[in-house]
Amino acid sequence: MSVRTNSPAEGRVDADDVTAGGGTPSPAPGRVAATSPRPGRRPRPDRPRRDHLKTIEIAVLVGPALIVFLAFVIFPVVMAGYYGFFRWKGFGPPTDFIGLQNYVTILQDTAFHEALWHNAIIVVMSLVLQGPAALLLALLLNRPMRGQSVIRVLIFVPYVLAEVVVGTGWSLMLQSEGALNGLLEKIGLGGLAQDWLADPDIAIWTLLGIITWKYIGFAVILFLAGLQGIPQELTEAAQIDGASYWQIQRRITLPLLGPTLRIWAFLSIIGSLQLFDLVYIIWGQYVASTAGTSTMATYMVANGRNAGNYGYGNAVAVVLFLISLVVALVYQRFVLRRDTAGALTERTGR
């Protein structure tokens, strides 16, 4: 039910160290080497050779994954920190070292301030909009009843679709001459028709609506998973004691669902800080800032790669990463502490 950390260091004993008498009911007398084809006949092989073999096995099995991972994840991230100190157009080695100038520029750029503010709105409002709604839906869908699995799957569909598909569909639907305004007109609510995408007062709310639509299914599924972990005996006992349905949800379900809620909030916050696809697809790189929906990531792409200023783009990436990291660490320190005793990065480790 709750999120437990699963430290790799604990738990199991490797076959190397298990002797036949070591508490496991093994019928074979004496120690059996994993490599020995005929147990019991040979004396145990010399350790150094076996260790050598094990080292080779480990290298062969982990090597490819480690190389790909270091080359395409760790190395680029490290290089971002390095490139961020240069004024660099991306060709040849960076030579124009400018120290912290890129970072000063970023922190003084009002366009970045706006993007940061939009990210903050998205972080908070995603939690406020999706959390309660998803929780209510999960509570509703948690009762065993016919059709439950169908509803659950259909709610999840938008989450599976590509951001591009979703973004294209919504941007066509929300144009000022689009289907939503047409529909409002038709049912006599023409007064509510808006310029959903271009009006800077409304665009960020449109974006929040689309985000909620796209990602609420994920929250519902997570919460349902958490709800299943709550033993039914508890609610039954509370019922016998005369607790009402809402009392049970309030006093038993919600507290026990805490770990799931906190993990979801964490994933939601990090996702909100990194938001790129939907904004970039619906608003494009230039419209996003005038419509008031730019995010740090769209700022990074527009002012980095698209402008050809790779040094600057990398500096923005570093800032984005540091902000995410600080938020993650603070959240880990003050909110997740109760749930996970381990490293932050083990948050999804069951």
Partner: protein, 289 residues
């Protein structure tokens, strides 16, 4: 502790047989929510059956009459099928790569004992801290220096790398949950540790492997920012880039854009409906202790 403990499971009702009906209010709420979720998707699909003049005249009406020309035109275009092929190749190779590399590494992390194991696990787990968005600019430079821009390999390799942390974190508990007794029994029967990997670990870890594979496939199929940076040649476009290019190229031809968009989401929808239980169950398993 058996392997089945770690298997993510979709919610199954207690007992078998038919379930009771819920109250009408619940169905009403459920209906409204599902309608809200599906309406935009329905708009995309149905809009593809209309003409532009129909859409201009009344953007929110049903097709009258139903027109199949938009879909037909997209279906005979080589661009569309080329992009389907590119997306398929990228997704399949990514999935195979993630599963192969992830399984090998997870096996070592779960079942070998050596000094730097904790460190190794921490290195992979740290990858969760670096979403692709953050690393995309330097990642593009790495790929460019390798000469892999405008090739699917330039998309596939980073996708494998960025999928590894999740894969390893999901798979390690699966592999660790395989009882030592089985490994001992196998070794008594003369099975080497690598033989054990092929004959016992793979079949036992299959549910986890499938979950991981599906997640990698869908992530690759929907991937946008990485192809956006790496692929600049239309011949190498994957479907998400294709949809966007098509939408800006035919921005006046709304009906055709809708047809193209809805055709491009069919593979994801089909894939999802086949593996729905596994996907939902996999996510469920990720948070369940």
């Amino acid at each position: 502790m058996t392997a089945s403990i770690a298997l993510p499971r979709a919610r199954r009702p207690r007992g078998s047989g038919t379930l009771p009906w819920g109250s009408p209010a619940i169905y009403f709420v459920g209906f409204v929510v599902v309608a809200l979720m599906l309406a935009p998707i329905a708009y995309i699909i149905i809009g593809g059956f209309r003409t532009n003049s129909q859409i201009t005249a009344d953007p929110s009406a049903l097709p009258a009459p139903w027109v199949f020309a938009n879909y037909a035109e997209v279906l005979v275009s080589t661009t569309f099928w080329g992009e389907v092929l590119n997306s398929t190749v990228a997704a399949v190779v990514t999935t195979v790569g993630v599963v192969a590399l992830g399984l090998m590494a997870s096996y070592v992390l779960a079942r070998y004992r050596f000094k730097s194991r904790g460190l190794l696990y921490a290195v992979f787990a740290a990858g969760l801290m670096f979403p692709m968005t953050v690393a995309i600019t330097p990642l593009y430079l790495v790929v460019r220096n390798l000469g892999l821009t405008n090739s699917l390999a330039g998309v596939i390799l980073p996708q494998i790398a960025f999928a590894l942390p999740t894969t390893i974190i999901i798979l390690v508990p699966f592999l660790r949950a395989i009882p030592d007794e089985i490994e001992e029994a196998a070794s008594i029967d003369g099975c080497s540790r690598l033989g054990f990997f092929w004959r016992m670990v793979l079949p036992l870890a299959l549910p986890g492997v499938i979950t991981v594979g599906i997640l990698a496939f869908i992530a690759s199929w929907n991937s946008y920012i990485l192809p956006l940076f790496i692929l600049n040649n239309e011949a190498t476009y994957t479907l998400p880039l294709g949809v966007q290019a098509f939408a800006s190229q035919y921005s006046v031809d709304t009906a055709k854009v809708l047809a193209f968009t809805s055709l491009s989401m069919i593979p994801a929808l089909v894939f999802f409906s086949i593996f729905e239980r596994r996907i939902v169950g996999g996510l469920t398993g990720a948070v369940k202790g």
